[in-house]
């Protein structure tokens, strides 16, 4: 009954329920009622613009949110049978970098400039596996080889500043995968890289994921990356999930006006014709979140009913949308012809 590549084992690898995060001094939730399900080996992409809460969600899962100022208002994250949000810090540290690892956005600054790359990877191995220095070093070498860094024996003893950005990101991936994690969280891993290197790194991540059967949560704002990588996609807007589902469903038949706007604001290859479609307006500031649908002020279809927050409803085939207008009975509307203001006023 379900489409998509890897489906329904009895218990998912990661089950996040109703995660809400608030920051001191800000009245609204910056992450509001987010729920995610991820099976082993599956890739979940979280998309949305800057400040939509996608990175906060990832950091919260890793236990890396600075608290205070951040505060978790509600939520559970069951990972391999344990609630990540309800365990002592020491237990979480044993999981971090071991069963669950993270790749950051900035390869240029995410490696310690004072330590050789090989030692940094070896350190991550020694932290979690009871191995000696030589074994950890051998593992680091093996990992550098697996991420296809040329001349890995030499690179092992180099400092990060001797490597290019693409190579550093490979080294970060090597470090993250060194302990065979079941879950890899990548926060915009290719944003800082140039386009050709991006493609190589994505390709590498896909290959390694296939080899290790790790599940991947990929945070991105690049729909091209989503199309390339995802089994499932989650679209976030202003801290809430507005649409989620198998990537093919969401791309072929986007239901939320925000998703539709995102899709049509993508530049395509080929001859340029006219202006790119933009979504009018801006994301509401965190201290002035509207009560109801947070997208209403920018939505060409908004009406009086949008003053109440729409629930995330399942339209079938795990395709879920938080919009009163869904399912849309027509194709993607021509947003360019609908200045937002006209629909928003009521």
């Amino acid at each position: 009954m379900v489409s998509g590549a890897h489906m329904t084992e009895s218990t998912p690898l990661l089950q996040v329920t109703d995660l809400s995060i608030r920051f001191a001094g800000v009245p609204g939730n910056l992450v509001d009622g987010v729920s995610l399900t991820l099976n082993a080996g599956e890739t979940l992409c979280v998309v949305g613009e800057s400040g939509c809460g996608k990175s906060l969600t990832a950091l919260a899962l890793m236990g890396l949110l600075p608290m205070p100022p951040a505060r978790r208002m509600s939520g559970q994250a069951i990972f391999e049978g344990q609630d990540l949000f309800d365990m002592p810090l020491e237990a979480l540290k044993d999981i971090r970098g071991n069963r669950m690892a993270m790749i950051f956005q900035e390869p240029m600054t995410s490696l310690n400039p004072a330590i050789k790359v090989g030692e940094q990877i070896a350190e991550a191995v020694r932290r979690h596996k009871g191995v000696n220095r030589e074994q950890a070093r051998a593992r680091a070498l093996e990992m550098l080889r697996r991420v296809r860094i040329p001349a890995p024996e030499k690179r092992l003893d180099e400092y990060p500043h001797q490597m290019s950005g693409g190579m550093r990101q490979r080294a970060m991936i090597a470090m993250a995968l060194a302990n065979d994690p079941a879950l890899l969280i990548a926060d915009e891993p290719t944003t800082a890289l140039d386009v050709t290197v991006q493609a190589q790194v994505l390709d590498l991540m896909r290959t390694l994921q296939r080899e290790t059967n790790a599940a991947l949560i990929m945070i991105t704002h690049d729909l091209g990356v989503v199309a390339e990588m995802a089994d499932t996609v989650v679209v976030m807007y202003a801290g809430r999930i507005v649409e989620a589902g198998p990537v093919r469903k969401v791309f072929e038949d986007p239901q939320h006006p925000y998703t539709i706007g995102l899709m049509s604001s993508m530049p395509d290859l080929g001859p340029r014709g006219g202006r790119l479609v933009t979504i009018p307006g801006v994301v509401p500031p965190a201290d002035a979140m509207p009560e109801g649908c947070r997208f209403a002020a920018r939505c060409p279809f908004a009406g009086a009913d949008c003053a109440a927050a729409p629930p995330l409803r399942d339209l079938g085939d795990r395709h879920r949308v938080a919009c009163w207008r869904a399912p849309l009975e027509f194709g993607a509307p021509d947003l360019a012809a609908h200045p937002a203001a006209q629909g928003a006023a009521s």
């Binding site: 890793m62 890396l64 540290k93 044993d94 999981i95 971090r96 970098g97 071991n98 690892a101 993270m102 950051f104 900035e106 600054t109 995410s110 490696l111 310690n112 400039p113 004072a114 330590i115 350190e123 991550a124 932290r127 979690h128 296809r148 040329p150 001349a151 180099e158 400092y159 500043h161 001797q162 490597m163 290019s164 693409g166 190579m167 970060m172 470090m175 050709t196 290197v197 190589q200 390709d203 590498l204 290959t207």
Partner: protein
């Protein structure tokens, strides 16, 4: 697959870049030469062909520089050159040991404050500020007087007085390194506090501390000379530039060389450490390459 276009950079360690920049800087080089020179004579003091620094010769009291006594003799006929050479040992030792004391106490406190924040930081910072409120030399004199006059007590007094500066510097640097992405990625790997401090904080706060330490050696040498001048440091008859100056001030008209040489030596060695420290600061500055 995945053809690699990454260009291989010539292997070049940061230390070698620092060294190159240091060598290209004439004043830093002069500083290094001065420091090297005084260090050399201080180390070689026991083997240099000189009379003992405490050997008196009543036949040659307050003699001007000559072939027999290159820098002259003092008021009880001791060879000034010999006393200068042994005095270099006291001065440099005082400078280095007191800075080592300051670092040994200051860095752990500063890193603890910057890493833990909260009330740990509040306690350490308030204490540091209280110490910083007292002028450096006054504090050192008070501590030395309290501990009792001797060279080792002078070193402790100077070290404790210089310590707050290192607490502050280490705290600030720790706080700034803590915001770096690589510290977050260290936490994401599951490393504990000690591993993060040892491997991620300390190596990255080291350069500014090194510069400050070099400059503080100069200050500490002056402080030692001042304490010895006041009789709170090296005790006679053991030689020290400060105590030599103290005696020499009584004979400025009859035997000016007694004051001249220690004065010049203090000037040169302090200049040397300052030039070297400034050079290190420039060389370690990653902003211009």
């Amino acid at each position: 697959m995945t053809a690699l276009t990454d260009t291989t950079h010539p292997p070049r360690k940061p230390r070698s870049r620092v060294w190159r920049k240091l060598r290209a800087n004439p004043s830093a080089l002069l500083g290094a030469v001065l420091v090297g020179f005084f260090t050399l004579i201080a180390v070689l003091a026991p083997v240099l062909p000189l009379p003992g620094p405490m050997e008196t010769d009543w036949m040659a009291v307050r003699k001007a520089p000559s072939g027999a006594h290159l820098l002259g003799t003092d008021e009880i006929g001791r060879d000034v050159l010999a006393r200068m050479v042994w005095g270099a040992q006291a001065s440099l030792l005082a400078g280095v040991v007191s800075v080592a004391i300051a670092l040994a106490i200051g860095i752990p406190l500063g890193v603890a404050a910057g890493y833990a924040r909260g009330w740990t930081d509040a306690v350490i910072s308030r204490g540091t500020e209280a110490l910083l409120a007292a002028p450096f030399l006054i504090l050192a004199i008070a501590l030395a007087a309290f501990l009792g006059p001797s060279l080792s007590n002078a070193m402790i007094a100077i070290g404790l007085s210089a310590m707050p500066v290192f607490v502050r510097l280490a705290r600030g640097q720790t706080m700034s390194v803590m915001t770096e992405d690589y510290v977050e990625s260290a936490r994401a790997v599951g490393l504990g506090h000690m591993a993060i401090i040892w491997r991620y904080i300390l190596p990255n706060i080291f350069p500014p501390l090194l510069v400050q330490a070099t400059l503080t050696v100069a200050t500490a040498i002056i402080a030692e000379a001042s304490l010895s001048f006041l009789g709170l440091g090296q005790q006679p008859p053991a030689p020290s530039w400060g105590s030599m100056l103290n005696v020499a001030k009584n004979f400025l008209e009859q035997a000016p060389w007694m004051a001249l040489w220690p004065g010049i030596a203090i000037f040169l060695v302090v200049l040397g450490f300052n030039l070297l420290g400034d050079g290190l600061r420039d060389a370690l500055d990653p902003r211009d390459s």
